[in-house]
């Protein structure tokens, strides 16, 4: 079994053709994507009050200081929720189902969560709170996705 949706020839979990993530034109989240390209995981952490937040926003939701700082996190987390998708909602996914989506609560990030795919067999038994680690998935088109794998 390959890590990528059961097909060893695939270097990415989902087929090409899915919308690629891009940094906002207004510069709000450029740091996140730049870090992902470096295979680092970053979220916002307010320099004033230390509150974590994700996705990025111009203001800290707690103390309302503007322009929260970016903070590197470990890249580990736990499965907070998951699902197995059977119905393709995008033409590119016509032959990619079923696949797994996970919501991961990041370690050491004040409860911040991220959404990604769970690498490995799409029919695997998924456990709540299982420890997972981030795997950076570089795409030919130039963007990098953050996927998750159950920690060994």
């Amino acid at each position: 079994m390959s890590e990528h949706g059961g097909d060893e020839s695939k270097k990415t979990y989902l087929p090409e053709g899915m919308p690629a993530p891009a940094a906002s034109r207004d510069g709000l989240d450029g740091e996140f994507y730049a870090a992902a390209k470096r295979h680092e995981l970053m979220v916002q952490r307010c320099a004033k009050c230390g509150t974590f937040q994700f996705p990025a926003e111009w203001i800290c939701h707690k103390c309302h200081a503007f322009d929260p700082a970016w903070h590197r996190v470990s890249g580990r987390g736990r499965i907070y929720s998951w699902e197995r998708v059977w119905h393709p909602a995008h033409p590119a996914l016509k032959n990619a189902c079923p696949y797994l989506v996970v919501v991961v609560e990041l370690e050491g990030a004040g409860g911040v969560r991220m959404v990604g795919n769970l690498l490995g067999d799409a029919m695997q038994d998924v456990q709540f709170d299982a420890e997972v680690e981030a795997i950076f998935e570089d795409h030919p088109a130039g963007h990098t996705l953050i996927q998750w794998r159950v920690a060994g």
Partner: protein, 699 residues
């Protein structure tokens, strides 16, 4: 919220009667009470003036406002004593003597002054006022010195709730001490006493008083200076030190006797100066021999400013009704034979016909979910003479249906419009499907954290949150299946339902394909073309129309803390977003969850219905498996029949407006699955979106 009780202060029994009668003329509703200053007992000659309170809320007064009236009386007493009125001699009015408290003697000496204040406080109005008073006294034939200003109406009979003179202490502060603990115990009362500028000095009696024996009318004193006092009772400050508050209030008042202006910040104030020699103008005029019986009622209706409204009643509750329902046929997606806008017009016209209204009577339009069928286009197409309200509930997809009703109701209550149409027209086949990810190459913003991973549609994020809830509360597939089967069950009785004639069994449910676990095909709402509309109007109009009104008992809209956070970062995760709305909704309605007879709960997906049932208080989250059963959720005998026309799953997907129509039908008694004696129907719109909204209709 502060609760205001409004009273007026008068100095004669006649004023009390005037209050009662004026209240009666207003359809039987009287003010909360009248405080009459006077001796409490006939034999109370040497006692300070007491306070006789006639109250519509007698028990309330006796229990909880006693201290407040003691305070008022103490204040007045203190002013009276400060002027040493009781001891003035000579230059005062004949009836005022050291034993002027003796109302009997006052009566004898001033037989013609029956309605006149037996004792006068030697105060003098500012020059301008006095001059005006004089003019008024010359112009008007009045006997009494006090005008009764009726400030607000309340229902109830005025009965006497006497406050003993013993409760009125010689020293103002002393009076407060016994009173305040009681006040404190009663939901934290704050009293403001406002003394208004004397606008006129006149009689507040009306002809009916002629019948009263003269003895009953006399026996009052003081407070001629106070034409009107208004007690505003606030009930919202827990644990405030009322004693300290009262002391500071009185402390602020006391230095002002003796020449300074005193009064509320809103009033010009009254200058009070010692005036032992002045004969009060009222009596002067009276001595000119005007007939005390030829008096006019001069009580005017006090302008009620916003602050004086009883805030508890200042909601939309029971002031607006749904009076007309309109629906087109419901088509499968892409199969509507006409354009979406035409569907909207059809639904609106049908709603008008149902109500017995002409479309031209519509003067307000409300919708939700960025409905494409623009309000101004609708108004233009229908030739509406005058559009006074045009409103789109902001955001939330299907979360806005009840919100649009709430907005329409608010507009009517606010006086913006009288007759508001709420509609939704949807032809997904013509414009694109909700359940598909747009085929774009790139995406930025919050969606960039989910779409590239194949997580984009409502089914997909609601499934994630449903899964978490099921994990937290040990809920299995049975609960979801029960919800789906209940909706399909009700659709079998509804000929308009798309799934009528196509019942759902458990085996069919289990064998149906997965969309996204834990949702099977049958856990998901349909996709339809069609339009629906409802008309709302005010209480006054609703009763004259064709159908039984479905009264809007309560509405709520909103969103919990950071429920809009992207990438599944909403802090409270496995929720439908009703946790803060439902309490507000029930509070406005004044009911509890157990009072709801039938519920329409928006099913984008069964999982969201499940969490909505929990969050509206119908069952505990750990009891979902026991509560969400086919037996409990189906008509006719279920504990809580839901989606009784088939709902989004089985009747049609009209973005929830069809649920509001079904709730109105339940209240009218015309549902195809009519819950017996259904009085209260709830609609939850959303769920698991932001914002969401709620509605309660009742008979």
């Amino acid at each position: 919220m502060p609760r205001r009780l409004e009273f007026t202060v008068t100095t004669c029994a006649g004023g009390v009667e005037a209050a009662k009668r004026l209240g009666q003329r207003r359809g039987g509703r009287a003010i909360d009470g009248v405080a009459r200053l006077g001796p409490v007992d006939g034999d109370d000659r040497d006692r300070p003036p007491g306070l006789v309170v006639h109250s519509a809320h007698r028990e309330l007064l006796l229990r909880s406002w006693r201290g407040l009236f003691a305070r008022l009386a103490a204040l007045v007493t203190w002013i009276v004593r400060r002027r040493r009125i009781g001891n003035r001699k000579n230059q005062m009015h004949d009836s005022v003597r050291s034993r002027a408290m003796d109302r009997k003697s006052a009566l004898l000496e001033n037989g013609q002054h029956v309605p006149v204040v037996g004792q006068h406080v030697g105060v003098e109005f500012p020059d301008a006022l006095r001059a005006r008073d004089m003019r008024q006294m010359l112009e008007q034939e009045r006997g009494d010195a006090v005008a009764l200003m009726l400030v607000e109406d309340r229902e109830g009979d005025l009965g006497v709730a006497g406050i003993r003179a013993a409760e009125v202490a010689p020293h103002a502060d002393e009076a407060l001490r016994p009173g305040l603990p009681e006040g404190r115990g009663q939901s934290d009362v704050v009293v403001e006493v406002e003394f208004r500028q004397a606008r006129e000095v006149g009689v507040a009696q009306i002809a009916a008083h002629r019948k009263e024996p003269a003895m009953d009318r006399s026996g009052t004193e003081s407070a001629e200076v106070f034409e009107q006092a208004r007690l505003v009772v606030g009930v919202d400050r827990a644990d405030e030190n009322l004693f300290a508050a009262a002391q500071s209030y009185l402390g602020s008042v006391s230095p002002e006797i003796g020449g300074k202006v005193f009064g509320s910040h809103r009033d010009k104030g009254i200058t009070i100066a010692p005036n032992p020699g002045r004969i009060p103008s009222a009596c002067r005029a009276h001595r000119r021999g005007c007939d005390p019986h030829r008096v006019r009622a001069t009580a005017k209706e006090q302008r009620t400013d916003a602050m004086s409204e009883n805030k508890i009643e200042n909601t939309i509750k029971d002031k607006v009704a749904i009076v007309g329902l309109g629906e087109t046929a419901y088509y499968k997606r892409g199969q509507a034979p006409v354009s979406e806008f035409r569907l909207a017009l059809e639904a609106i016209i049908r709603a008008c016909d149902d109500a017995g209204l002409r479309p031209a009577e519509i003067d307000g339009i409300a919708s939700y979910s960025n409905d494409r069928n623009d309000s101004v286009r609708v108004a233009t197409a229908l030739g509406l003479p005058d559009l006074r309200f045009s409103n789109m509930f902001w955001g939330g997809g299907g979360g806005g249906g009840s919100g649009a009703i709430g907005n329409a109701a608010a507009a009517i209550v606010a006086g913006f419009a009288t007759t508001v149409i709420v509609y939704r027209a949807l032809a997904q086949g013509q414009f694109g499907r909700f359940g598909q990810t747009p085929a774009v190459n790139q995406i930025s913003g919050p969606a960039a954290y989910t779409w590239p991973y194949g997580m984009s549609t409502p089914a997909q994020w609601i499934a994630l949150r449903t899964r978490r809830f099921m994990h937290e509360h040990r809920v299995g597939q049975d609960a979801l299946a029960a919800i789906a089967m209940a909706c399909y069950h009700h659709a079998q009785f509804n000929p308009r339902a798309i799934m009528c004639g196509r019942p759902l069994t458990r085996a069919m449910y289990d064998e149906s394909r997965w969309i996204v676990e834990p949702f099977h095909l049958y856990d998901c709402c349909m996709e339809n073309d069609g339009a629906a509309a409802v008309i709302l109007t005010s209480r006054e109009r609703a009763r004259d129309l064709k159908q039984r009104p479905a009264w809007v008992m309560a509405a709520a809209q909103g969103s919990d803390y950071r429920q809009g956070a992207g990438a599944e970062n909403l802090p409270d995760y496995s929720t439908s977003n009703f946790k803060t709305l439902a309490p507000r909704l029930y509070a406005m309605a004044g009911i509890e969850p157990k009072d709801v007879d039938v519920a329409q709960v928006y099913e984008n997906f069964t999982g969201a219905v499940m969490t909505s049932i929990v969050e509206h208080g119908f069952c505990h989250p750990d009891e979902v498996m026991e509560f969400c059963t086919l037996e409990n959720l189906t008509w006719p005998n279920g504990r809580l029949p839901i989606n009784t026309s088939g709902g989004n799953l089985a009747e049609c997907y009209m973005h929830g407006l069809e649920l509001i129509i079904e709730a109105a039908r339940q209240v009218r008694g015309t549902s195809t699955c009519q819950v017996k004696d259904a009085e209260i129907a709830l609609v939850a719109s959303g769920p698991m979106v932001a914002p969401v909204s709620d509605l309660i209709l009742h008979r």
